[in-house]
């Protein structure tokens, strides 16, 4: 009887141990972020006392952040590289992925396979030659230099190529009959229909560029070209650390990503799992 009871409960999927487990995991998942956001409203002293309630020091922290750190420079640079980089990345990789599928032939298929090999090249292995090359090309401390490695990735090209398979070829042919140019078909027909895929690519690309730390340290070394992660990590370098202010910057750095997450949760999870479907 007892056995049967637990069986039917687990069948409905709502047994108590499962919910307890999910609640514990949920709390652990959210807690560091809660602590981060709450701490950004507290003074450094309160943060060190592990105060877990919202405080009233938000504006004070913001003021310290704006007046005593490179926050505004970092924000400007981070927004510039993320926006410019994402736009270029989506344009370049969508066009390539589309062409690999729509105009495919043997040489193009081979080229795609070759480009896929680049996925196995670790970032650390390319760091020094890229730094030396970019120094020669005058690309250090520039938006162009920072975004170039993000503008074209085999992963994004693959994402577009795979999804182009579900784009009916009849639409391409109909576009040709209507007198659209090949680029016109891509812009006027492919883009509006495949908007969800573009949304996924925007998220993946923006997150990668916004979060990047190692490459930012290498290529954006001058004080004027620091991005937010570099400014944030640099805050622990001094003798006294203003934890309230630091947590505020950590929170601000997370806001664009959180906004994307809540507005586009479907595309977000689809984007992360995108490589599964390939």
């Amino acid at each position: 009887m007892n056995k049967h009871g637990s069986f039917s409960r687990s069948r409905s999927g709502n047994d108590i141990p499962s919910h307890v487990f999910l609640i514990i995991v949920s709390v652990i998942s959210v807690f560091p972020l809660y602590y981060m956001v709450v701490s950004s409203t507290n003074t450094s002293v309160d943060v060190l006392k592990a105060r877990l309630l919202p405080g009233t020091a938000l504006l004070e922290n913001l003021n310290t952040l704006v007046t005593t750190t490179e926050f505004l420079v970092g924000l400007r640079n981070s927004l510039a590289v993320a926006i410019v980089g994402t736009l270029f990345a989506v344009a370049v990789t969508s066009l390539a992925g589309y062409a690999f599928e729509i105009y495919h032939d043997k040489v193009k298929d081979f080229t795609m396979s070759f480009l896929m090999l680049s996925i196995m090249i670790p970032q650390a292995a390319t760091l020094i030659p890229m730094y030396l090359l970019f120094a020669k090309m005058g690309l250090l401390n520039s938006v162009a230099g920072y975004v170039l490695p993000f503008v074209s990735t085999a992963f994004l090209i693959m994402l577009f190529r795979q999804n182009t398979r579900s784009f009916p070829y009849e639409i391409v042919e109909a576009g040709r009959l209507d007198g659209l140019s090949e680029l016109g078909i891509f812009v006027r027909l492919f883009f509006p229909i495949m908007r969800p895929v573009f949304a996924t690519a925007v998220i993946v690309s923006f997150m990668n560029i916004w979060n990047e730390y190692l490459w930012a340290l290498v290529v954006m070394q001058s004080p004027d070209s620091k991005t937010l992660p570099v400014v944030l990590a640099g805050m622990t370098a001094g003798y006294t650390v203003d934890y309230g202010m630091m947590m505020l910057l950590a929170t601000i750095s997370t806001i664009p990503l959180a906004l994307m997450f809540f507005l586009l949760q479907k595309s977000f999870t689809a984007g992360i799992a995108g490589s599964v479907k390939s």
């Binding site: 292995a125 947590m247 949760q265 799992a273």
Partner: protein, 292 residues
């Protein structure tokens, strides 16, 4: 007919034009540096004064204790992967239950660590685990400890903090992969198993894990790849410390190239070791992927 073929050819050429920018950039920022790094690894000296030294840099690795330490740490950090992936698998199968209450809310909460920027969450963990930080204060107020634990000053505790941080950040990420895999498994298989009286555990080991094996493999390789390239957490949370106890290969490459007098050739040699490990793993992935 002839005109049509001409058009077809024209379009294929135009296709190359569409592909060109993307392909050219990948050649420039991936393949060129890869070749260049190898040539660099055979040299010694600074930017304008490089001499060819053959494989000397590679020979030097064997005697370099900091290289051994960073390799050791990198391997230690791999330990976390099976635990994290098991947790993700359990979470995904719970979150995939048809009638689970608050499913949407749980999913959002479990996925939420994915949205946090690497350096941001590193800073949060750094202050949570500092000597006077939140974790110590909580443990003390619950009466679990009498004196503060020096989380970041003890080599093994510092490694533990890095492991906890990585698990926190990436479990939800892997759960997304498993969940999307689970959703493509036909529900009737479970119903049949249920009728046959198979327990939940049996269903997990006999249905879920075999059906998900391609995705499990993908996440294993992804995680190993990411851990082998670990940089941000060990720089931002522990600053490689205490005394290089948490330095990773990527940290060491960065340190050699940009924190001391640059030793590009030697750093390039280490980066090639990382490349070889990653490449071998990627080849395994492709081999197994082909079998699908």
């Amino acid at each position: 007919m002839l005109k049509k073929m001409g058009q077809e050819k024209k379009r294929r050429l135009l296709g190359w034009l569409f592909i060109l920018p993307g392909a050219a950039i990948i050649l420039l920022v991936r393949f060129y540096p890869m070749v260049s790094a190898f040539l660099l690894s055979l040299t010694s000296g600074t930017m304008n004064n490089q001499t060819f030294v053959g494989l000397q840099n590679y020979a030097r690795l064997a005697k370099d204790s900091l290289f051994t330490t960073s390799l050791f740490n990198t391997v230690i950090f791999l330990v976390q992967i099976p635990l994290m992936l098991m947790l993700a698998l359990v979470l995904a199968s719970l979150l995939n239950r048809e009638n689970l209450k608050f499913k949407g809310l749980y999913r959002t909460l479990v996925f939420i660590p994915c949205v946090t920027a690497g350096v941001s969450y590193s800073m949060v963990f750094r202050s949570m685990f500092s000597t006077t930080g939140l974790i110590n204060q909580l443990l003390m107020s619950w009466g679990l400890i009498d004196t503060e634990i020096q989380w970041l000053a003890d080599p093994w505790l510092a490694r533990l903090v890095i492991l906890l941080a990585m698990t926190w950040r990436w479990t939800g990420y892997n759960t997304i992969f498993y969940l999307s895999g689970l959703q493509s498994i036909d529900k009737s298989i479970y119903e049949a198993a249920e009728l046959d009286g198979a327990s939940k555990w049996k269903q997990l080991t006999d249905i879920t894990i075999p059906m998900l094996s391609p995705i499990i493999l993908l996440t294993v390789i992804n995680s190993i790849n990411g851990t082998l390239q670990l940089f941000t957490e060990t720089k931002a949370i522990t600053a490689y410390g205490p005394g290089n106890a948490t330095i990773t290969l990527s940290n060491y490459i960065f340190k050699l190239s940009f924190e001391y007098l640059p030793q590009y050739g030697y750093a390039a040699a280490i980066s090639y070791i990382v490349f070889i490990i990653v490449a071998v793993l990627a080849l395994i992935q492709m081999k197994v992927g082909d079998k699908r």
